[in-house]
Symmetry: D2
Subunit: 151 residues, 4 copies
């Protein structure tokens, strides 16, 4: 079982985490387009890969700190339909005192165009003290390393 190699589009050049997903027929709704909630599922899947890259998944490795989704948005540019293979990119755009903000982008290989862009606020949560926490310096360093730039 092999899948074809898809050339990386220019649109996703600066995204450290990129995943490839085959659109499933059942993700379309009664308007025969991929339902809007599924775009957020695609975004989430790219975020998870990004979190793995910056090693911010395991609470124990991070002193009980983990990310909570505080806000997310999506701008729908082109409808998606089955069949299609999409690429979803995730990157950090901004570091704040209590969170990092991510850019998300969905690229349709069938349409050879960007189908949607979005953002997600990843709030730092202290699961031991059950409250928001400051963005730790160690995480800042790992994000800078993964992104290849300082913030």
């Amino acid at each position: 079982m092999s899948q074809q190699t898809i050339p990386m589009p220019e649109n996703l050049r600066d995204y450290p985490a990129i995943i490839q997903i085959n659109v499933q027929w059942g993700e379309m709704d009664a308007y025969q387009h991929v339902n809007n909630t599924v775009f957020f599922r695609y975004f989430e899947s790219a975020r998870i890969v990004y979190l793995e890259k910056i090693q911010f998944v395991d609470l124990n490795q991070n002193g009980g700190l983990g990310p909570i989704l505080g806000h997310t948005q999506c701008k729908f540019i082109r409808p998606l339909t089955y069949p299609d293979t999409i690429l979803v990119g995730a990157r950090t755009s901004e570091l704040r005192d209590d969170r990092f903000v991510m850019d998300l982008k969905i690229y349709s290989t069938q349409q050879q165009a960007v189908a949607a862009v979005g953002t997600a606020d990843m709030v730092i949560f202290d699961y031991r003290q059950n409250r928001k926490a400051a963005l730790p310096d160690s995480l800042r360093a790992r994000i800078s390393e993964v992104e290849g730039r300082s913030f």
Copy 2:
């Protein structure tokens, strides 16, 4: 905010657990019917209420034992569409050595007819020893009590 009282249909008379769900528009697929996977979500939601009734949700209360879905099936009788309010019933049909078997039924109040029937095998799992276990007598007793009959 009040919802209308729906008379209990004869079809669900012998079901100890019945839930009421408003079909959501986004549960329909490109064929403009509620997608088949959603029927299994409805079944699951009724099973959860049934498990609460027989107090088989909390592992600690049951010596580390809990249910695992071993098999499930659905016969699709009528397509569901938005808008509709459905009733979903769950009952136990059979006790076996290592599981109990449930009947599931979806009733469409808009169509005033049964839309689907199904079954689910709830296998007893010992989470401490990580293997299947025998159906405990205490659970047999609670199921008999909830069902109002012996097996």
Copy 3:
């Protein structure tokens, strides 16, 4: 089958469309909270009821015009868990040349607090000419009537 009457919270007083949804167990993800994509499903379900109220569902009634979701966002305030009954409100906050903007709000009756707020841009699309269109005066009038105020 009856459901309890839920008093309308002050938080949703100005929302012309309000729906009641029972959170389903299977809507929770591995973090044991209702998954973020499900919040957008709840929003969508409230929007559909609103669109029915302003009679903007049937393309034939509207000269081939219908709504397209151009942008949506959600601010997550409190996590939702099963069991809970939520109320979801939808209203129009702003009319623009080519769209109307909606406010969305999710209220948890278990927590007696707002769990999330959001917005959605409903872009007017001309399905016959396959392009964006201007917000028709007839729709402005119906929105004003449903909202009980002029924009």
Copy 4:
């Protein structure tokens, strides 16, 4: 963007339609396993590819005939978790007067084992006359050709 080539497991040798899916994190439920409804989504996606192979998707090509899911079942053998890449196979096991019956199988490449098997009854429906229809000879022939055997 390339994905690794996955060797075809012996388990799926006789399946004419096989799809490859990356399990998404958000498909896990509160028990931290891929939710049972998602297995049916995977099955559906493999069926769609199979229907394309036997050219039974376009109603116009088939005299107004199309498939309706009459029954489906799944036996859960091993839980699936993120991350994993699965292969899902679909084949026809039996032709009946008014339907064809399919076998479905999910193979976990991470576990190198079959995670689930299932079946689906694809009932022939005449969308012009709005009733069940007989399995057409042309479809029998195309199924036999795709399967490489007579039934």
